[in-house]
Symmetry: C2
Subunit: 89 residues, 2 copies
Amino acid sequence: MTDNNVVYVGNKPVMNYVLAVVKEFNNGANEVVIKARGKAISRAVDTAEVSRNRFLMDKKINGITIGTEKMVSEDRASNVSIIEIVLGK
Amino acid sequence: MTDNNVVYVGNKPVMNYVLAVVKEFNNGANEVVIKARGKAISRAVDTAEVSRNRFLMDKKINGITIGTEKMVSEDRASNVSIIEIVLGK
């Protein structure tokens, strides 16, 4: 078991991330953190919900945090929203 | 002041919903609930973050809930994720 059980949600199908979450728990994780930013935030919520409703019925949501990150691209800075959802016992 | 200070986030620009949140507080609300489902969830998080960082610096996030709702269309049922973000003092 590692301390950093983080699943980063991007643009792939939700089920990819659900399987990554399930795998983390199967590998002995006590908690898994689902992280996403920008438009992937909706998919992170889907990932948490599908994981909990279909595969990990004994797990709970231990916390949800939202925040803002500065993204710096070549010539300008912009803000992007982020979410962290903690699943655990 | 009403008891139901809810802003439903849909497909319009984020700033529309930010202004709706600010207006609720200006009308005397103690708490405002930002709700969205499906792909609008990302925009709900943006709404909360922009409201807090730019207009309502004295307000805090009092709670974030995620869940699943059954959508029944003509011939089939599907699940959609929902989010509720509570802003308050």
